[in-house]
């Protein structure tokens, strides 16, 4: 393996951070799909699903954000551009997701159309943050 030739930077991602970083993408994606289902069916249960999925995404990614921040501050080896990008992506996603949670605290169809846009952008940012976060470690390892 190539990794053998670069032992110093071959630090695998911490399992706990990996688990936390895995939260937001599926949950925000689920919220987006639920929002779409609510918009087309007016069935309030989709709205409820969406609210809880966003809440879950915020809790999981909140800890991930904290982790990424601490890692950045501590610096050291294996914390390159990818980690910074991942942190910024997570931060933007979390702020947007929080606004989305507030929008989802409106009643019934008052959440439309903002809820859809916010869920879509949060999903996109979750994708970017996760991709950058996992790549940061992966690229180092195989460099």
């Amino acid at each position: 393996m190539v990794a053998i030739s670069a032992p110093a930077s071959a630090r695998p991602i911490h399992p706990l951070y990996a688990i936390l970083l895995a939260f937001p993408l599926p949950l925000f994606l689920g919220a987006l799909l639920s929002d779409l289902a609510y918009r087309s069916s007016f069935q309030i249960q989709w709205f409820n699903f969406s609210s809880w999925l966003i809440a879950g995404a915020l809790v999981g990614s909140g800890f991930a954000l904290l982790w990424a921040l601490v890692a950045l501050i501590r610096g050291g080896r294996g914390r390159g551009k990818g980690a910074v990008l991942s942190f910024l992506g997570l931060l933007a996603m979390w702020v947007l997701g929080f606004v989305n949670a507030l929008v989802h605290a409106k009643d019934a169809f008052a959440i439309m159309p903002e809820a859809l846009y916010l869920s879509a952008i949060a999903t996109l940012l979750a994708f970017v943050a996760a991709w950058a976060g996992y790549s940061a470690h992966h690229t180092r390892e195989t460099a």
């Binding site: 989802h104 605290a105 009643d107």
Partner: protein, 429 residues
């Protein structure tokens, strides 16, 4: 939210200073209706419970106010019996309303800040002033183990109580201080979820029917349209059989019903929807037309469409009746009773309205009992403060008026569910 609370506190102080009434432009038959607006956070100011000490609510010159019962367990509505005894419903309901989203959990905590910590009595208390000196010297528990009792009506020798889930009756003999037996079921009332649990009630003048007000199961259909079946309406019930039919619909939360003396017309106060701005939608006082539709959820104050309620129903919107008289948004009207000449010349013709007070608005409104003057059987003129001063100088609430009843002998009875008091206002003699 803290910022909102602080700002509201400042605003409240400046209001006391200049004695401006933020709702004055909102009253009457043609209220000013601004465009709907809701920011990212809803406007909220919860006046916290405070104590009366030696203070008393403010009443007009020439009137006095007395606490005729204290330490009750959440008094809601009152009924003056023919012999002058006063029945009080005490209790609380809506416990079964499920919290389905994160907002419901947070809102539940915030709203509890403005409430009494005393548990609801779920009982009827009878107050008696045997010698007519204005002191209600004896007090007894007329019935207990009820379930969220609210509306009261007496037809001949039968007392009807609207629990949050059922209409029940007791036999009643004049002078009785306790029910002679357990309540008898007349009919079940809609109680699934029970977001708005209070079941208001009055009897038709001929005693043939009872009218029961049933509130909506949401603010504006956020629990789904399906759960609004048999909600936001007034039922007409035949007390002999328990049979019912919708008498009027589209009243979001008809919290008190009463019959207008002389005309026999049914009137209601109703609480309108929240979260589209501090001055929307006005709560109202209206005559209730048989078969009438009053807009909820599709529209408000006639044909003003509420796009939050989907799918919309243009036919229903077109049919929506405009209520008679706006009381102001978020005042939370919970009591109504028509006056009579024994209340004094200035307050002889009109209706008293108890306003529990707002929580979902920066500057608190309500927290008072107003007198709406009538002329020729219709509301005419601005509401006049009859009992006020429930908010203290710090913007905290010492009491919150609920039900109001006019005693034919010339007294207004006001239930206060925060200080757990029944107040009695009379003209000085």
């Amino acid at each position: 939210m803290m910022r909102a609370i602080i700002l509201a506190g400042v605003a409240a102080l400046s209001l006391t200073a200049c004695d401006d009434d933020p709702t004055s432009h909102q009253g009457g038959a043609a209220p000013n209706l601004p465009a709907p607006h809701r920011g990212l956070l809803p406007d909220m100011t919860i006046p916290r419970p405070a104590v009366w000490g030696n203070d008393r609510p403010t009443v007009p010159q020439g009137y006095r106010i007395d606490a005729i019962a204290t330490d009750l367990r959440i008094p809601r509505q009152t009924l003056v019996l023919p012999n002058g005894d006063i029945l009080v419903t005490e209790g609380t309901g809506g416990q079964a309303a499920p919290r389905l989203n994160p907002k419901a959990f947070i809102a539940g905590i915030i709203k509890s800040w403005g409430r009494t910590s005393v548990p609801g009595g779920n009982r009827l208390t009878l107050l008696r002033d045997a010698d007519g000196d204005g002191t209600y010297e004896s007090r007894s528990i007329f019935a207990e183990n009820l379930n969220g009792p609210y509306g009261l009506a007496l037809i001949n020798d039968v007392l009807y109580v609207a629990n949050q889930d059922a209409l029940v009756r007791f036999d009643y003999r004049p002078g009785q201080t306790a029910a002679s037996g357990p309540p008898v079921l007349v009919t079940n009332l809609p109680s699934a979820i029970n977001h708005h649990w209070t079941k208001s009630m009055t009897a038709s003048p001929d005693g043939r029917f009872l009218y029961v007000g049933i509130g909506s199961n949401s603010n504006i259909t956020e629990r789904g349209m399906e759960v609004e079946l048999d909600r936001a309406m007034v039922w007409q019930i035949d007390p002999a059989t328990g049979a019912h039919r919708p008498y009027a619909t589209g009243l979001r939360n008809p919290t008190a019903l009463t019959i207008q003396p002389g005309t026999g017309q049914l009137w209601a106060v109703a609480n309108e929807r929240d979260e589209i701005g501090p001055d929307l939608v006005p709560d109202y006082l209206t005559s209730v037309r048989e078969g009438g539709f009053y807009g909820w959820p599709y529209s408000y104050w006639g044909q003003n469409v509420d796009t939050r309620a989907q799918p919309q129903n243009p036919e229903r919107v077109a049919a929506a009746i405009r209520p008679d008289y706006a009381l102001g948004a978020h005042v939370a009207a919970l009591g109504v009773s028509f006056s009579n000449p024994a209340m004094g010349a200035a307050f002889a013709d009109g209706a008293f309205v108890g306003q529990h007070g707002s929580w979902n608005r920066d500057t608190p409104v309500g927290y008072r009992v107003v007198f709406v003057p009538f002329r020729d059987g219709r509301p005419a003129g601005s509401p006049i403060d009859f009992v006020s001063g429930f908010l203290n100088g710090d913007g905290n609430a010492r009491g919150r008026p609920v039900g109001v009843s006019v005693d034919p002998r010339g007294a207004l009875i006001v239930a206060d569910d925060l200080s757990n008091t029944v107040w009695r206002i009379t003209a000085n003699r």
